[in-house]
């Protein structure tokens, strides 16, 4: 059985999220998913373009939708692996369907590039939705040859798969369990992660780092407390924020969290029997080698020594005194304590 979809990779797939791209290739091969990359797609604008100009932001996304419509081949489902790309594509299509004025102005702009888009011509879906709904958990489970028994994972969806949810596909927009079920079908132990749809900070790590670090701290702290070995995500931006900025977050709060965050396709690939290096393991900044070593999976050694990736050594904090305020201590009292 083979399922064909149009595919919009998004910029991070050949940048910071290469592990997502290589593991997705393995997953598609095993599950018989055929992804047709849209030729010459452009950036979706992230959350930046729409902050400067709505008309241009929708025209930018409109070009991708128009190319997808032109390149339809049996499937009109456009799959995006990145949550932000997914929402941007879905949003422009949604508003072009709802707002005739917008549809007309986007098409007037597209005309300058010799393109046109019929609102609703493609159906935009997140990769994760397609795997769960079109391929199905039974097929996923049937492909498992190396169950991830012994691995405890915190399912972290982030915001944009279930919100804003333009087509009303998600009954629960805050505590959906589909991602938990997918990971459980791989044999992993899944903790009930209350922050599964909380924000990773988005572009806050850039424009207001303190705000971003607090959001990252909440996620890794909760996952730590629940005894998770790792967070599992389906969004390159969530992965990048929690992974690459975890060291700086630790310095900011004087914490020592070590919570790897991996893409769900990497775990699927492992469960399907692929090797760790095929799946891009080792490219995470917060190494998952220890967590995976415990279930007998060897992660290739990354170039820099592992301790160098955790940021420079944090200056050890002075021991806190048991009392709230610094009180004078008599010499004989210190003796007594010793």
């Amino acid at each position: 059985m083979s399922a064909t979809f149009l595919y919009y990779p998004g910029c991070s797939m050949d940048g910071s999220a290469r592990a997502y791209a290589s593991s997705l290739e393995v997953v598609c091969r095993v599950l018989g998913i055929d992804l047709h990359e849209i030729d010459d797609w452009n950036c979706c604008g992230a959350s930046e373009y729409v902050s400067l100009s709505q008309a241009k932001a929708h025209a930018l996304v409109g070009r991708n939708l128009a190319l997808a419509e032109q390149q339809r081949n049996g499937s009109s489902t456009l799959v995006a692996p990145c949550s932000l790309c997914y929402v941007n594509l879905a949003k422009t299509d949604h508003y072009m369907r709802k707002d005739r004025g917008l549809a007309a102005s986007v098409n007037a702009a597209l005309e300058a590039g010799g393109l046109a888009y019929t609102p609703g011509a493609v159906k935009v879906r997140h990769l994760f939705e397609v795997i769960v709904e079109e391929i199905g958990l039974d097929a996923v489970h049937a492909a498992v040859t190396r169950p991830l028994a012994g691995l405890t994972v915190a399912p972290y969806l982030g915001c944009l798969v279930t919100r804003p949810d333009y087509d009303g596909r998600w009954a629960s927009k805050e505590h959906p369990v589909a991602f938990d079920r997918l990971l459980a079908s791989l044999g992993a132990e899944v903790v009930d992660f209350p922050l599964r749809t909380d924000c990773c900070g988005g572009h806050m790590t850039q424009i207001s780092p303190d705000t971003g670090f607090e959001l990252i701290r909440r996620l890794v702290d909760a996952a730590d407390r629940l005894g998770a070995d790792m967070l599992v995500t389906l969004c390159p931006m969530c992965q990048m924020n929690v992974d690459a900025y975890q060291g700086e977050m630790n310095r900011h709060f004087h914490t020592h969290h070590h919570m790897p965050i991996l893409f769900f396709t990497q775990l699927m690939g492992l469960a399907f029997g692929a090797t760790a290096s095929e799946l891009g393991f080792g490219s995470e900044v917060v190494s998952a080698r220890h967590a995976l070593g415990r279930i007998g999976i060897e992660v290739p050694v990354a170039e820099p020594p592992p301790d160098a990736t955790d940021g420079p050594p944090v200056r050890p904090r002075r021991e806190k005194k048991p009392q709230g305020l610094p009180m004078p201590v008599m010499p004989d009292e210190t003796e007594a304590v010793r």
Binding site: N42, G247, E248, V285
Partner: protein
């Protein structure tokens, strides 16, 4: 008040600014339906770092406090998590309203005291140049410009991103970049014409 050195954009009659924001938001924003319950601010992960809570900003929009609203950091601190949007009892499309306010402020050159507008502009200039974004290079540039004191702490992360092959040295340029620029230029013209159109009463 951040940016209070700037001249106020022209003040407007009460209600006019509300109509302007609604007109600038794609689709039906339902902003006029806000009942000031505050569910938005209570759901917001970054509300603590905003000048005004979203609820207060909407009251200010309705009151016609155009200058204060356009200078507020609130829309720029929105993380677009859509918690407010799905919890709002009146189904106001809050993040879209935030985008619309930012776009009006940008058009008028009113900048709040935040590095956010600069980040957006750098991001967009990459798209104009290449058609694709250049995430890690962009982050590096932004940190060098705005948070130089954080650089020593961030250096190991940057090194790791390079050695682990997660950071390209240049973005890919799409073939149709000329066509894309033509599309964006036309969209800008259309928006300019639309913005000078009378806001419907």
């Amino acid at each position: 008040m951040p940016g209070s050195g700037q001249a106020d954009p022209p003040s407007v009659r009460e209600g006019d600014f509300l109509r302007e924001v609604i007109a600038a938001t794609a689709g039906d924003s339902r902003l006029g339906c806000c009942i000031q319950c505050g569910t938005c601010g209570g759901s917001c992960p970054s509300a603590a770092d905003m000048d005004h809570t979203p609820r207060m900003l909407f009251a200010m929009i309705r009151a016609g406090l155009r200058g204060e609203v356009l200078r507020s950091t609130t829309p720029w601190m929105c993380v677009s998590c859509y918690f407010c949007a799905v919890r709002c009892p009146q189904e106001v499309h809050i993040p879209d309203v935030m985008y619309a306010v930012k776009a009006i402020a940008t058009r008028e050159g009113v900048m709040p005291d935040s590095t956010a507008p600069d980040f957006s502009r750098t991001f967009v200039s990459n798209i104009h140049r290449y058609g694709r974004s250049y995430e890690v290079g962009l982050a590096a540039k932004h940190y060098i410009r705005h948070y130089p004191l954080r650089l020593p702490g961030m250096a190991p992360m940057g090194i790791a991103m390079v050695t682990k092959g997660r950071m390209g040295f240049a973005p890919h340029r799409i073939r149709g970049v000329a066509g894309l620029r033509a599309i964006l230029a036309r969209a800008e013209e259309l928006e300019r014409d639309g913005a000078t159109r009378e806001v419907p009463a």
